[in-house]
Symmetry: C2
Subunit: 491 residues, 2 copies
């Protein structure tokens, strides 16, 4: 499903909408009188092109055509969807919406990005009232899936359903909010936190950084995958959601916040919450929910570790602090016996390395071997600062034999031999074990490269020297069984 | 750094602490009069053993010893850290803390998991007042890093610093809160959201599931990696945080929440927030922050996609809906020309596939080839339902040649040939291209297995038949250059 979208107002939000439509194959026409609009939207689009296409595992369609228009009428001509993202002033929004009459088809959806206004406020006095809905997205619009969809009695339910289907086809999560309310749902929750946070800063309790850390190292991670109620359902444990909510009652009267207008926790409200929670999460037992939550947390924190950010950066620092105690070394010179295969990895199999066969998935064998290669590179002096100066090794060839399975949580080690370390070449042999079982072997040819030219080049003398010394020390070991083998060759 | 921890109260929170200590090599003694305590703690520990060891990239030390004790005195004897997690009643906490006198050393940290009480409330009338601090963790304690540390004037600053260092060595993020306040920081924010959410349910605006979805498909993802202020700093864009906060002023007076006690947004408060935000995030430009944010969001959503959960499940459904339009097929019978190599993957390189060399990292080449293999398996009938019935293919051998580099966002395709498909064997040849450039070849030997015995077994007839037909159709193609080659073999 693609079509033509008109973007009215091309700032961060409008630009994000434009990018979401374009990268999903829609043609996009933009109207924004700001002379900087084209530059600003270009910047949003550049970010979107970098991040959205690879988000999924299937290629997006070819990008649509982007056009900037001199008039609103020109931009919306023939549009299947008009998205209004002008500043949050009702009279301005009314003026823009009124101008659409006579220029759009009867089936064109007119979405407003408004954070605060109710659809009936937007529709008031509008000829096209039945086509106007709140479609409130979240920044960055090209990545975050949520769109709050709010209609009024002026909208045909089928019209709203169709609008939601179009957003789903853009990879979004339309959340149809049945009741009109100032600021819809998400911004009410955000606003509550924002006010409480302002009090904390104003009263000198915490800085902005401390408040952000209190969020992103704790409940923020929980909320990226389960919300408030599903999280509390788990906290309630086997006693159940009814029991948990009833217990929560007294706390609501405690002065834990500046914001003290508290709903009365009647039996009816408890029953409503518990019943809704059953409908939402009841297909999973608490134990299952715990494991789903833990798997999500591990996966997300490991994703953050790759970017060395937040909870992931903390984990990386923790790993670095423990590496020596775990038997890993940073320099060839620190090896107790350089003539033996080198310990280059010692870790447990993480939850996100498991596949549908219930064991460590094949690509993660290479991930583990690549981590082992990185350790060996560091040991011969090809470390972060060396790489920053423009030298590195690229793998050109790999041969893996999968000899045994391994499950989540199991310990694995990799020991590494340098089969050849001369000139530009680094030829490695990794053996992966778990509790004495040989799981896999990895044979890898790497070439030293100049990162500026991306071509093979000799390593710096200290790297070449360390590699040669290690290769010489390993030369006395017998050639490993399987080295040099091709796929399917007889043993 | 390890030692001995005493856990007083072994429920979900105490059990989580026990697991965090044990898996980081500490010996743990537990006191909990609940006859179910050992079973309950065992369940928490089982979850922790499944998820924590693989969180980092370096092996944890050997697990410490776990002991259940009949008395508080026995449990805390010789402890370096005592963690109190008894129910949230001040007189009970006072009684437990008083009992510690005479049984712990003068340098033992006594942490309380209290959500609400201030340290000076806990310390009141206690002989060991100077050793008692709030150490408030977040569930699941074995995974979530945040611990709010709050002391009072009764605590020596060096004592608190030492307590924080011990938590850091457990992989945690101790957040030292300088001012005593009911509910510390995080729970005040949570409480604000909780109250607003209760109003939304009570007033019939939204269900628990809709509120959870409004969180986890939107701002929850943002908050897992940046908090409130850093996110708004980005939203403020080039105009800066001062400008953004000043603009926010009027909104605070709008009725966007039931919770209306609002701090006055004075120049002084604006200046304080802006200054703190500069100190927190000022080393990155807005553009850099946007890209960090986007990289984190992509990584986390892709982690969730692996678990088919939340925003990741949405993405998977989106991918599945687009597969056919992208040229992928589900059955050999749907191929327009079975004699040609089969399109088995078409996607863009995601941000989390890039390494320190600025290109797609080697393990992700195998990840892409594994996705291609999965598609081919599905095409010959080894799909989800077949696997659920106990048959699958395991890769036993892989040979990859890395022929060219590729960057984030670039389109890649894989075309696949069946070199052999007979009996238990499936011998595949993958070629990966980007815009006409050959990036890599992958040669893979897979064996069909019985998932119950984990041993090689013949595939079901319909799978064997489809595979044989495809192998026969591909037999007329010339043998690909590089097939059967070993690492480092001459061309």
């Amino acid at each position: 499903m693609s079509g033509k979208a008109a973007i009215v107002g091309g700032g961060v939000i409008g630009g994000g909408w434009a990018a979401r439509f374009l990268l999903n194959g829609w043609d996009v026409a933009v109207f924004d009188p700001d002379p900087q609009a084209e530059r600003k939207l270009g910047e949003v689009l550049e970010n979107a092109r970098r991040s959205l296409p690879g988000l999924g595992d299937v290629a997006l369609p070819s990008e649509g055509q982007l056009r900037f228009c001199a008039s609103l009428a020109e931009a919306v001509d023939g549009a299947d969807w008009v998205q209004e993202s002008v500043p949050e002033r009702l009279e301005l929004k009314h003026r823009v919406l009124a101008e659409l009459a006579g220029h759009v088809r009867a089936d064109t959806v007119i979405g407003s990005s408004t954070s605060g206004f109710k659809p009936s406020e937007l529709q008031e006095g509008q000829a096209l009232a039945g086509q106007i809905v709140v479609a409130h997205p979240f920044n960055p619009v090209y990545l975050l899936p949520l769109v709050e969809i709010v209609g009024s009695p002026a909208n045909d339910p089928a019209f709203i359903e169709d609008a939601c289907a179009r957003l789903t086809a853009l990879g979004m999560k339309p959340l149809h909010i049945r009741a009109e309310i100032d600021a819809h749902i998400a911004d009410r929750l955000l606003e509550a936190v924002w006010r409480e946070a302002l009090w904390l800063v104003r009263d000198g309790i915490a800085t902005t950084e401390e408040i952000d850390d209190a969020i992103r190292f704790g409940f923020g991670l929980r909320w990226a995958q389960m919300g408030l109620f599903e999280t509390y359902r788990i906290a309630g444990g086997e006693a159940g959601m009814r029991h948990f909510i009833s217990q929560f009652g007294p706390c609501l009267q405690w002065p834990w916040t500046k914001l003290m207008d508290v709903p009365e926790l009647t039996d009816d409200l408890i029953e409503r919450i518990a019943g809704q929670s059953d409908a939402q999460s009841g297909t999973h037992s608490i134990r299952e929910l715990e494991r789903i939550r833990d798997g999500n947390l591990v996966g997300m924190m490991r994703a953050l570790a790759l970017n060395d950010w937040g909870a992931g950066a903390l984990q990386n620092a923790h790993d670095a602090a423990r590496a020596q105690a775990a038997g890993l070394v940073d320099h060839v010179g620190a090896l107790s016996d350089p003539s033996l295969p080198v310990l280059t990895l010692t870790r447990a199999v993480p939850l996100d390395w498991i596949d549908y066969n219930g064991h460590m998935t094949e690509a993660r064998y290479l991930d583990a071997f690549a981590q082992a290669t990185d350790r060996l590179m560091r040991m011969v002096g090809c470390d972060d600062s060396y790489i920053a100066e423009g030298g590195s090794f690229f793998t050109v060839e790999t041969h893996i034999r999968h000899l045994d399975e391994v499950r989540a949580g199991a310990p694995i080690t990799v020991h590494t031999r340098v089969l050849e370390g001369a000139g530009k070449k680094m030829h490695l042999w990794h053996e992966m074990q778990s509790d004495g079982r040989l799981l896999a072997t990895g044979e890898h040819m790497l070439l030293h490269v100049d990162l500026a030219t991306r071509r093979a080049s000799p390593p710096a003398p200290q790297v070449a020297g360390a590699l040669e010394r290690l290769a010489a020390a390993h030369a006395a070991l017998p050639l490993p069984e399987g080295a040099g083998r091709g796929v399917g060759a007889p043993r």
